[in-house]
């Protein structure tokens, strides 16, 4: 599972810090925050597509982390554990915002049409990170969530299905539609 760029860690391990933080050592918790807040913010931003909401979400994740840090047993990498906690917290936000139906349905999107004879392999510009980020922000929520989890963060369909409580078939379908939609958006960007 992708968890972003690795940060060079010096000093105590994440697990050591979590143990101290669980015992009430707020300095240890602050070290954890400073090591990992970028990771949490980056993931939140990609899922929420809004810097202010991503900052709020980062705050919420670390508040939640503080209350639950004692439950981290070191059975997995701390970054993986924190990554999953962040994803779950964002999904909880989506559900509270009554957007769950957008996460679980294939409906409501016009199928991507490819008109035979109009395709030119050279027409989609060489997409850079900024162009792709812009296009991702324009995706419907359900598409964006599956695309970010699968193609950016490296989840497989089984993990996505369990996380979003959807079928693997729906996950695959949403991913494919998201990619085709992105292709169209990138072409539009270049045409504009």
């Amino acid at each position: 599972m992708g968890a972003g760029a690795e940060v060079e860690i010096t000093g105590p391990s994440d697990f050591e810090l979590t143990q101290k933080a669980a015992g009430g050592d707020t300095d240890a918790f602050e070290q954890i925050y400073r090591r990992h807040y970028r990771r949490v913010y980056a993931l939140s931003l990609r899922m929420l597509s809004d810097p202010t909401m991503a900052e709020d979400m980062t705050q919420e994740v670390f508040v939640n982390l503080f209350t639950k840090i004692g439950s981290f047993r070191g059975e997995s990498q701390f970054t993986t554990w924190l990554h999953r906690m962040t994803v779950n917290q964002v999904l909880m936000y989506f559900r509270k915002a009554s957007t769950r139906s957008e996460l679980t349905t294939d409906e409501g999107e016009t199928p991507v049409q490819i008109v035979r004879g109009t395709e030119d392999p050279g027409r989609m510009p060489v997409v850079d990170r900024i162009g792709l980020e812009n296009a991702i922000r324009q995706l419907p929520l359900g598409y964006r969530t599956v695309f970010v989890l699968h193609d950016v963060e490296g989840y497989d369909h089984d993990e996505i299905a369990r996380t979003l409580e959807i079928s693997q078939g729906t996950s695959k379908s949403q991913l494919h539609k998201a990619r085709l939609k992105l292709r169209g958006l990138i072409r539009q960007q270049s045409a504009g």
């Binding site: 925050y33 807040y37 913010y41 508040v63």
Partner: protein, 80 residues
Amino acid sequence: MADCDRSLDLLSDLRDGVLADMDASWVKTHLDGCGDCNGVFLDLEVIVVTARTLASENGLAYPDENGLWERIGIRRSNVH
């Protein structure tokens, strides 16, 4: 045209290597003879490869580290 529709439905699975052998063989044969579908397939590959680079945390504008920590501290004191 029907072949193109079927091909387009299967391109992501082909790209991700999760297509059954028979279907994969059929799509590959179709792509060899269809520039339109092959163009879409290549574009999807570019999108997927570029997406993986987004997992990096470099190049983003992050919120103020100390300011955000202060906000967490305020919330934390509310919890306890």
